[in-house]
Symmetry: C2
Subunit: 464 residues, 2 copies
């Protein structure tokens, strides 16, 4: 039943926009987006002035709307929202997104307005998203209640839940370049009705979604929220970025989405127990998501590291310690195999630092064949001048570093992550080499945290 009402938000048969306009802003951008994406036929635009927008006739009152509208998107000023809601209720609309700001986030007066609206919606049997949000996006049917760049509408496995509208939107802009594609987005705003738990359950059941990213500032129903995370993270990884970690941040979130963001340590422990993965910052959230969409869960905590840079190897070791991961020794067969190819100065340990020896290819095959690690981090950072010299001689990156996708076929159950750093053409070449089977990240810390996340979603993990 919850799922069916959420379906009205993500898959409406018809939609009304209350507050369409002909001047830049939401009221202009949304009809434009609907036109570009084939939704204008199923849309009704409303503005008291009437007229035409994007070639579509505008109705001047809610009374003039047809019956049977699945979803209304409201972008009128906050003072007018109450009246709109009453009329929408009368029309039988049961799903409403209030994008307008000017509610609890601005203080007591706004809070009063918000409480009135919440009570009214309940009375009218209307389910609400918002206020103070930009609603939803569904890439599968190209529906959105905000104008989105076409580049962000390519369907993918990542669902996003953001408390804030602008932030959700910015994430959408940012993700294509970061190599992530989206299934659905929900921006929740002040959450007078539908909240994180509702959308977690919906995304958990959504066949298009494989990973859930969540930006939150706080929650009103902590118990219900943690229960929902627990249910969801049994099926799909949930990565959470939370602000309001400190007194300053808490004050800022209060005036932003009127959230009580609570004690950070409490959230941290609760998230972990409930099986969620907490990201330290936005970039890490994005990189972890990229790994989670392509790599298998990691059965144990043992990481094998192959690096051309001892420094980067040491950074991975530091990060592994911090995350409670382990760096197992290599089997003696592996050590022998590497020794046979290695110059005398090489120290055969884990992290395995091959320096400028040029033996990445045989070393990669050797470590992949070692049963001790449960997952691997490759750090093929090589000065590009050296690479160029080889390329000039007709040697390919694949010949130098090994054909990772092929080697990897023998260990499909183990995640493999490459850390990229260096000259941009080289990073492009490594990305090509990785293809879709080896994940890439930009830092030792992100690599280790991503493996730790893959471990936590494994059925073999001790965590729930």
């Amino acid at each position: 039943m919850q799922a069916s009402i959420l379906n009205s938000f993500f898959n409406p048969r018809s939609v009304a926009l209350i507050g369409a306009t002909n001047t830049p802003g939401f009221g202009y951008g949304i009809p434009l987006f609907w036109k570009r994406n084939g939704w204008l036929d199923r849309a009704h635009l409303l503005n008291p002035k009437g007229g035409e927008i994007q070639g579509k006739k505008v109705v001047s009152s809610i009374d003039d709307l047809p019956e049977g509208i699945d979803l209304a998107v409201v972008i009128v000023p906050s003072l007018a929202v109450r009246g709109v809601l009453i009329e929408l209720g009368r029309k039988g609309v049961r799903a409403v997104i209030i994008e307008s700001a000017g509610f609890a986030e601005i203080g007591p007066e706004g809070k009063k307005r918000q409480d009135e609206i919440a009570a009214l919606a309940k009375e009218l049997g209307i389910r609400l998203i918002g206020p103070n949000c930009v609603g939803v996006v569904n890439t599968a049917n190209r529906f959105a209640t905000i104008e989105i760049m076409d580049s962000s509408m390519e369907p993918g496995p990542v669902a996003i839940m953001a408390q804030s509208g602008v932030f959700g939107n910015i994430l959408l802009d940012h993700l294509p370049a970061a190599g992530l594609k989206i299934s659905k987005v929900a921006t929740l705003g002040n959450k007078v009705d539908l909240n994180e738990a509702d959308f977690l359950d919906y995304f958990a059941a959504d066949p298009q979604t494989r990973v859930i990213l969540m930006y939150m500032e706080g929650t009103r129903d902590g118990v219900g929220f943690l229960d929902a995370i627990r249910r969801t993270s049994r099926k799909k990884p949930v990565v959470i970025l939370k602000s309001g970690r400190t007194p300053y941040g808490r004050e800022a979130t209060l005036s932003h989405t009127a959230s009580l963001s609570g004690e950070d340590r409490v959230f941290d422990a609760a998230f972990r127990q409930a099986g969620a993965i907490r990201a330290e910052n936005l970039q890490e959230m994005i990189e972890i998501a990229r790994v989670l969409t392509t790599q298998p869960p990691m059965k144990g905590k043992r990481v094998g590291v192959l690096t051309t840079s001892g420094s980067m190897g040491a950074m991975v070791a530091d990060a592994a310690f911090g995350e409670g991961m382990r760096l197992p020794s290599w089997k003696s067969e592996t050590v022998e195999r590497i020794k046979a190819k290695a110059p005398g100065w090489m120290n055969i340990r884990n992290p395995l630092d091959i320096g400028p020896s040029g033996i990445f290819r045989p070393a990669c095959r050797a470590v992949f064949s070692d049963p001790n690690p449960d997952g691997f981090i490759l750090i093929p950072v090589i000065p590009y001048a050296a690479i160029e010299a080889w390329i000039r001689l007709g040697v390919k990156i694949r010949d130098m570093l090994g054909d990772w996708p092929v080697y990897r076929e023998k260990i499909p159950e183990k995640p493999v992550i490459a850390i990229l750093l260096g000259y941009k053409d080289y990073m492009e070449q490594i990305r090509d080499l990785c293809g879709t089977v080896v994940a890439t990240v930009s830092s030792p810390e992100a690599a280790v945290r991503a493996l730790s996340a893959l471990h936590r979603i494994s059925p073999h993990s001790q965590c729930p």
Copy 2:
């Protein structure tokens, strides 16, 4: 006197390469680089087999080298280094870079070899960089003892000191795309003779260098090193990235450059007291460096924040709390000025979250005129679909967000940082708007840590 010997490394009148070859590797790449950069005339190449490399005659023994060579670069196998050093001493060479690996980092046998070399150099009056490094780079005279991409040789204000050769080299590859240009690089390796303190003093006096970045794994002479940081950071900011922070990392650094990386908390406190800026990770080090090369020191700890995203504002607030920075209130005049332009829903606080109101331009002028903050963070994250709508109407980014470089002229003594996130074309446009006078970073955390760094280098800071 120290400076004059270091000058032989960065500005040699003549240089010899012991171990030049015609097959890919250091022995091939270095002569190639020297040829491309006009150094082959001042170079002598040595290989027992003789012959020609890059059109230059190769001498077959050190005896055959001319007198008066300023610098020798040694890349022969570790077992041959001792003999080479004796012959170089006999030839009167006083500055030697040993790039060869196979010393203390591989264990007791290598350590013994390294101790012999150290004693020998002392006896012969030779100053050493290395072993296990790639020596130096000087962009001003286009000299380097390793092959470097041309894109990394454009002169700039950032000096780099890295313990590890590959890592120093990778940094060089990576920095042009990150917007940083280099003055000099020193890679120190196992540091049997010249160490961090020597190069800190040299860079402190180097007119081309304005900011010093340092990657270290550990030090043997902690007191001398901290003294050098103290001396240097009075003149120029020193940003340190240190690995070996944890037991795993310490073990890795031991086998990498034979460093005793010590207790992390001890280093952390000592760095701070000595006036250095510690970066959490590589990306942060790069972003802080970018800010330090363009922004003035920050007199106090008070940060003014203007944002279109409440979420990003909250993240800045969290980071500010963590760094001990403050978020002052706006003056009542500022609040009035903003109120006159703002819609009713807006909450006029610091961070000032203007949401989708479109008043970035007047809000920016208003907050810049407020005397309370000592520095500013701008977060102009706007969904690109909205930007595009304005661009279609002929409105420019500068008109929407304000002409920051012009506004900024009135507050030259205050740092201004913009956080970029979103669609890549938009980030490019914001970078254009910032020009060279507003620094850009990619995360709330980097913005705050960079301001904190600018405060610590201020003469008004309480820190030494």
